[in-house]
Amino acid sequence: MPEIRLSKLTKRYGAVEVLHGIDLEMAENEFTVLVGPSGCGKSTTLRMVAGLETVSGGEIFIGGNPVSHLDPKDRGLAMVFQDYALYPHMDVAHNISFALRLQRRPKAEIEAKVREVAEVVGLTEFLHRKPGALSGGQRQRVAMARALAKDSDIFLFDEPLSNLDAKLRGQMRAELALMQQRVRKNMIYVTHDQVEAMTLADRIVVMHGGHIQQQGTPETLFKQPANRFVAGFLGSPPMNFLEAELISEGDTLFARGEGFSVAIPAERSRTLQSRNGSVILGIRPSDLNYDQDAPENEAIDLRVIVSEYVGAQSVLLCSCGNSNVTVELKSETPIALGETLRFAIRPEGIHLFDQESTAAL
């Protein structure tokens, strides 16, 4: 199983550079998720690895060998597309076996392989249907089966679940996670959905504006986001950002802004000692706990503007000075709109970002 390495990969369309030197190493059998908003270059990166887009600069290495001059078929990979890209005129069995038939494998071997992968994805009874007679989820499975049948070492997924409805997406996501455990292969998965990224990835690569913002395990990225973009992109509801000043008073460092003054935990404040002035304070909704008795410098007072009932939890949109803050609250908590509530901040949930560079402090 080869590892994949991207070295200073760039992509230009005419004069416009959309990828600015991507450096990325994917270890053997790793499930790598490229995630980012539309237009961040994640799909372009994937398509360059696949060979569907030309490389403008830099190099792609698969198992140590440069491949950017090779045709897609010579790179030994399989791909699942967003719109499934099935061959509409072939039935499911022929769709699955297309690559094998092009390789002129023996007929018995092809049939066995088709049956094997159809079983894996649960399509056995649909082998003689055309894609037109399948539902979205079934088509998705055919696309998956077609990729599996090739026995490639590398699997590429280009937003494979985004054409499915929410319920089916959740189900397919679970199946994908299962499949990934069963067939340990190199997988690169592109999505704009941070939930997919968090649940599936061994390693998440967050991209924005043609640059890699941060890469690492889902946990690392969630707990230690490298900059404001990553912090705001991962997690739902997204992280709250408040403008603040760092002010030392005695031994304690405070992040102080309109309507709040939060003490920075002692072990963090040591590294921040030298910094004074404007910062951005980031706090995830999940790090804010409703607690009217919390001490003032470990909490924040929020006035409730809107309450969205989503079942066991309610999402409250609140104001704090000029900023909006989202919090989550158990639905049974009796609150009224316009009321001011106190939320304790978990000390490890305090994130600080530089106002200029937006890098984490």
Binding site: G51, P72, K73, F81, Y87, L102, Q103, A133
Partner: protein
């Protein structure tokens, strides 16, 4: 008239002008022709003075070797040009379906022949085929070859070449449109699956274009059966009967032989043939639609 009936009648009132035009321009001559085909009718006679002969005109034609000849010339002409135009047109479309500089200029150039009036096409090719001063023979002779008797010995072939030149663009346009509406990702999937350019054409592009190609071929076939002007100008059906297609024979029967009834019967034979082809075309598209609808229903039932 109550408001309700008035409302119900309104759409029909708007249809009246179109219906009248259709009646005068299409149904009246058609009925006239069918009526005339059962009569022994000389152009000097008013149709009311003509004698009813039943199916005589049809029966005579059925056993008339000259009509057979003309019919077989038409069939050979039509099938040859359609096959050749399909092969060349689809081939060109596959070549032109790419993004290279100047491709739109090329496409426009390829489409030009179709825009020229058929009579002009006929005159142009007649000149080019001229045994002594024609472009082809002068070129051949300057290269040291013998001239070819284009419109004499090889009249049918020459006429076929001219038609291919004029109508291949029609196939090209429709094939290009079909190619450009193919699902791009299916072709990308085929590239990843290891298909070469040829295999992509053979296994993916052509099968997916097939519905469009079938209808295109039928349209061209219907047109080719009715061709008249180009051949009239180039050969007038000669030499002998070698290029006398049915449309030309109809016109000669009516004007030279002064047998309007027979000409009308001949037109009806041609009409039947074209009707059959048209019905086949409609049937094919209906079958395709029905299949799509059935699939949609099937999916709905399963998910519902």
């Amino acid at each position: 008239m109550t408001a309700q009936t008035f409302n119900r009648m309104t759409p029909y009132m708007f249809l009246i002008p179109a219906a009248v035009t259709m009646g005068i321009a299409l149904l009246y001559p058609l009925g006239y022709m069918i009526y005339g085909s059962f009569r022994d009718w000389d152009p000097s006679q008013n149709i009311s003075e003509t004698e009813f002969v039943g199916l005589k005109n049809y029966i005579t034609l059925f056993f008339d070797p000259a009509f057979h000849e003309s019919l077989s010339v038409t069939l050979i002409f039509a099938f040859t040009v359609v096959v050749a135009e399909m092969l060349i047109g689809v081939g060109l479309a596959l070549l032109l379906d790419r993004n290279i500089r100047g491709i739109s200029v090329l496409r426009t150039l390829f489409i030009l022949p179709m825009m020229i009036a058929p009579v002009v096409v006929g005159l142009m090719w007649r000149y080019m085929y001229h045994p002594t001063v024609g472009t082809f023979n002068r070129t051949l002779k300057s290269l040291g070859f013998e001239g070819i008797d284009w419109l004499g010995q090889h009249a049918l072939l020459s006429v076929i070449i001219a038609d291919i030149w004029q109508w291949t663009p029609f196939i090209l346009i429709l094939s290009l449109a079909a190619l450009q509406s193919l699902p791009a990702s299916a072709l990308e999937a085929a590239r990843i699956d290891g298909a070469t350019t040829w295999q992509q054409i053979w296994h993916i592009k052509l099968p997916l274009m097939m519905p469009v190609l079938v209808v295109t071929a039928l349209l061209r076939l219907i047109d080719a059966f009715k061709v008249l002007e180009v051949i009239l100008v180039m050969t007038e059906g000669g030499p002998g009967l070698s290029t006398e297609i049915v449309a030309l024979r109809i016109s000669r029967t009516a004007t030279e032989f002064r047998e309007l009834g027979t000409a009308a019967a001949m037109s009806n034979y041609l009409l039947l043939l074209l009707l059959f082809l048209t019905m086949a075309m409609f049937a094919i598209s209906r079958i395709q639609e029905a299949r799509a609808a059935r699939l949609a229903r099937q999916i709905e039932e399963e998910s519902g």
